[in-house]
Symmetry: C2
Subunit: 495 residues, 2 copies
């Protein structure tokens, strides 16, 4: 046997920095290795200057924004706690805090009564939602759990899809095909979900969002569901988006919820970006109908300003996750409180701590203030673009994403009349891509771009500059100067 001295504590393991909350940690502190200072230098001098400054007020290109500086401490603290939410034995009170936080978010979206939360929030045999590492995983979770439910077999669990797989399960249930309905502007994570679940991209049916929103929307949607049913095809789910990634558009959630319910179709709302507007009593109306969803994706790292890697999938029914419960012999056992039995992920960080913290430090009111200012900022920028002769506005922003494009003098009339030739359209696309890229390369401002099908239905794609107004530090002057810079770049490109 080795003696105590021979085993010892490896010195390199215990090197440390300082932190304000460190004395909350119950374990010994070690020493600072010589190389730590060198690494700090690397971070300060090489790394930090070359990351993308997503916190900059003129970085308005993506759904990645600044995080409040308190995240440094909360996140660092989470790291040192190092709780693993897969089970109680590695998480203790953290498991209860995760349930509490999910209950609080569930209440904001589904607005059930006090008794509901009193019973279901802590109940080991029920689950109101999953904290996941991202929106894609939240969307995958929703579709996967809906599928497990739809192709479950309560009389004989050994004949459920979970056990026998998709193919045999479809044969047993008599389905010839399975589709998911969404719109052409659904997030591309739906493709990832369709691939993973074995359904395939082509079974994600993309409805024209404009028709869906029109007076014919309800009839069309209902008719589609009817026809699929007649053909022996299972309509697994209908996907609504609350704040599309490309343009921040909100699908007609209420109508979709009603039609889905009529046809017993799972209604999932991808509110990864827009869901945060539920925190504002003034703006929550924009998401009318979301309360009727069967499941909702909300990303903490979007408009809750949490650090990257924190998302939630909320389930209206506390029973849904039960259809996908998985147990093992050493944890997540049947009947236990361990959260691991209800999540796709296994070991998971104590992200609930960050959500718990911001709900108390920023709070619903704090978020309302931020979200309302984002909305104001987008309206302001939309008006600025519309009033500016050199730019065309795509539409009045519904939330806080503004699409627009630069139009050179000689094309302005034809743009207004909608009489651009195909060649001119392509030229305009190229010009806007160049403007976007040059501005990014210059590095003082950043707007992204996207491509959206031409409104005429010609199949042509139109490039639009895309501004996501979610940085609380972005001022009207920043926005004016961003446009100015784009105009200057355009002038240089045209010359």
């Amino acid at each position: 046997m080795k003696t105590t001295a021979a085993i010892g504590i490896p010195k390199l393991f215990s090197c440390q920095f300082e932190g304000k909350l460190l004395d909350a940690f119950p374990f010994e502190q070690g020493y600072t290795p010589a190389s730590a200072e060198a690494y700090i230098d690397f971070v300060k001098q090489e790394l930090a200057p070359q990351i993308v400054n997503v916190a900059h007020p003129r970085y308005i290109g993506h759904m990645t924004g600044p995080v409040p500086p308190l995240m440094h401490e909360l996140h660092g603290c989470m790291a040192l706690f190092n709780q693993n939410l897969v089970k109680l034995e590695t998480s203790g009170i953290a498991t209860h805090i995760e349930r509490e936080v999910i209950g609080e978010l569930h209440r904001i979206f589904f607005q059930k009564g006090e008794e509901f939360y009193k019973y279901y929030t802590p109940d080991p045999d029920h689950c109101l939602g999953n904290i996941t590492s991202g929106g894609t995983l939240s969307n995958i979770t929703a579709l996967s759990y809906a599928l497990s439910k739809k192709l479950s077999n309560p009389e004989d669990p050994s004949a459920s899809i979970n056990n026998i797989g998709l193919l045999k399960s479809m044969v047993n249930k008599g389905y010839t095909d399975i589709v998911v309905l969404g719109t052409a502007h659904s997030h591309y994570s739906m493709n990832k979900a369709m691939r993973l679940l074995g359904l395939g991209y082509q079974s994600f049916i993309k409805i024209d969002p404009a028709i869906l929103k029109s007076a014919e929307g309800r009839g069309m949607l209902s008719g589609m569901m009817e026809n699929y049913k007649k053909a022996g095809t299972l309509v697994l789910a209908l996907i609504g988006v609350a704040g599309t990634t490309e343009a921040g558009i909100i699908d007609p959630l209420e109508m979709m919820a009603e039609v889905a319910a009529e046809h017993d179709v799972h209604f999932h709302v991808d509110a990864a970006f827009g869901g945060a507007f539920m925190f504002s009593d003034k703006l929550a109306d924009k998401l009318q109908g979301i309360t009727q969803a069967d499941s909702i994706t909300l990303c903490g790292h979007k408009q809750l300003y949490l650090p990257m890697g924190i998302s939630v999938c909320l389930f209206k029914s506390p029973e849904l996750a039960g259809y996908s419960e998985i147990n093992s012999h050493y944890q997540a056992r049947k009947g236990g409180i361990d959260l691991g039995k209800y999540t796709i992920e296994g070991s998971r960080p104590f992200s609930a701590f960050i959500i718990h913290g911001v709900l108390r430090l920023i709070g619903k009111e704090g978020y309302a203030e931020i979200l309302e200012s984002n909305h104001d900022r987008a309206r302001y920028f939309g008006e600025l673009v519309a009033a500016h002769g050199s730019f065309e506005l795509y539409n009045t922003p519904e939330l806080n994403i503004v699409l627009y494009r630069y139009v050179p003098t000689w094309l302005r009339t034809r743009v207004k009349k909608g009489t651009l030739s195909k060649t001119e359209q392509q030229e305009l696309n190229r010009l806007n891509v160049i403007i976007q890229k040059r501005q990014f390369d210059k590095g003082s401002s950043f707007v992204s771009y996207t491509e959206i099908p031409d409104a005429s239905g010609s199949g042509e794609r139109v490039v639009w500059l895309r501004a996501v107004l979610m940085n609380p530090y972005t001022s009207p002057q920043d926005l004016q100067e961003i446009l100015q810079e784009q105009e200057t770049i355009a002038a240089a490109v045209i010359l």
Copy 2:
């Protein structure tokens, strides 16, 4: 239009704490809200005392250990950088650092030459691995990408499984069924993967690990693959485990790799726990054959001591991820460097920063020291248990997980002779479960338990206490006292 003053910066957004690296951040600092102090108090006085102290030297029950205190700063820093690795426009140098880090890990496991890494590490059209949020997701990634490759259709991508789904793809290729081969001690995340991919739990074929390791192992495995093929069943993958969750056992990786290669079956090694032993030149031999794997899961939050939520799935072939490439119009475009096109997850944190940091601050040598001491610690504990009259050792630990059980005086002879009756066996199980639970409840030490099928093949399950020796602070004296406490508890239970 609103004026500058009317939009402003919401005050609640910009509250902050302090941190040593904060001045590396390019954005403005805000103020500390009144409630921050109250929340710090809550963390110190209520939360911290009630989490599970996974860093305690006598917390040896799970694969969740202490993290070096430097994680507080690195993790906090990652949070404030808030880079999103889905694309270059939200990550800049972080995308390149992620590729660098994956290349470094790939080299440790697959040991390709300098030219290989020079070309493939930075190449936008290839991918050597994914950084994921956990081992389950890494395992899912490996199986999903293997499936996309196996059922791809290079001549007509529109007829690939990604597009047409599992059912139609199987029909096209003429497969009647798909199975994955593993052993009875594979991690339960394989069930999650089988469910997600539409294959079902029952298509995960569990080989007896003892037979696999025996002289008949190779013949049996090869015969199985042959028979499945004859029956029109696709053997998608073979799963080897390097350090099983329950007992730290290593499958015969080399033989498995050879048989898989002969039958053109994807060989995935789940080295979530044991993979870190590759950092030690002394102990790497234990994983003989891992270099021939097609993909490998390694969890940073296990024996690399990173905070929860950092795992890697490494791909031997730089082409594998290409079969699952997904693009969109606003990011992860074809031909671009954006990592999002090759990952199941979308938005992802800059976890590569943490790995980058520890590879420089702790380094391969530092990890070797830690891993070797873990191995010593397990050998020591195994010897301690074996020499102790009141306990039975399950087997000589291969890595650093030790299984054992308490045996009361009157059953010791029958345990040694292997003549326990079914009732006595169940009584012994119950006793050990009680000991484990009481020790957890007392709160000064923690060992977990698991259930493993009886070696006789009777189908009976045996409860074993399970010690994971991965805490560098655990001393021989801690281990002695843990056993002592269990004996004391047992005595009280028996009385």
